[in-house]
Symmetry: C2
Subunit: 152 residues, 2 copies
DNA sequence: TACCTACATTGGTCCGACCAACGGTTACGA
DNA sequence: TCGTAACCGTTGGTCGGACCAATGTAGGTA
């Protein structure tokens, strides 16, 4: 976003849910990128590490499906995480098509850092809202997402 | 988004405002792209045409600032719109740095189509919400955006 | 056995946001 | 009035995130 405070887009644009949603998301991704970059990671890294910690070791395929990440992108991200030592990749003895990805101690340490960064972003993002409004916003967005998600 | 309904991301991810916001925005941009593509245009086209209709002829610079579009991107979009005949580009006699962009009759006709498409997207997007909830969502997002916008 | 499916991987595409640099033009201050 | 700063349009990029097609390998099953 480059526009100054004075020069506004047309009213009919400003009033749409889609415009406000897009602007908020833009702001959000910028905050996330900055926050995660400060600890030398990305949103992908966070999501993958968090998934590994919550659900335990998993194949790349399920990591991708759980997070809505394309398998080919999972490859790249796991490459990075493996090289950083945050994750271990080894072939699954029970199914030689799969890799088993396991989070390492270094990985959980990194995850703690990422969570701190993420908390900061949430607070910055929702700063102008009361706690109740923040919950309401999440509730509405969740309803919206769930609805459009169910019907594949 | 590729994940099925069953395989969910970690709870701590799902509960963040940033994740829900990102998912909703993803869904939204997909709907917008489809809706606008159906009338052979893009979101850029809509925003520029709407700005021209609401505020009258303008230079590319103010078009860009009003909509938060980079000047270089404005060039490309105005090229497209001019070639389609939706817009007229002529040098400003009073300031030879500027171009004056004017919407044509064909442009306003196209704008009507785009507005129809956009309305459909809004309805689809906010289908699971009541009218009150929809307004509340827009209100919260607007507050959020305005807040982060004022402080440059 | 033959066939269909799943997995990981390579090598792309597309789009929106953004940046740097430049020539031409105008505004402004010394 | 002259020099410089600021502005405008334009070119030619980068970057990240989402996505897709094709392939080799391995499993499941008729």
């Amino acid at each position: 976003m480059i526009s100054g405070p004075d020069e506004q887009p047309p009213t009919r644009v400003r009033e749409t849910a889609s415009w406000q949603l897009g602007q908020a998301a833009l702001l959000c991704t910028r905050l996330l990128r900055e926050g995660f970059a400060a600890v030398d990671s990305s949103g992908y890294h966070y999501r993958l590490l968090a998934t590994l910690e919550e659900f335990g070791p998993a194949s790349q395929a399920v990591l991708g499906r759980r997070n809505g990440i394309d398998p080919s992108d999972v490859v790249a991200q796991i490459n990075e995480l493996a090289q950083l030592g945050h994750v271990q990749r080894e072939p699954d003895p029970e199914d030689r098509r799969r890799n088993v990805i396991t989070i390492t101690r270094s990985g959980t340490r990194q995850l703690r850092k990422l969570e701190k960064a993420l908390d900061g972003v949430q607070r910055t993002l929702t700063a102008p809202l009361t706690a109740g409004e923040r919950r309401e916003l999440v509730r509405l967005l969740t309803r919206l997402n769930d609805h459009h998600h169910r019907k594949h």
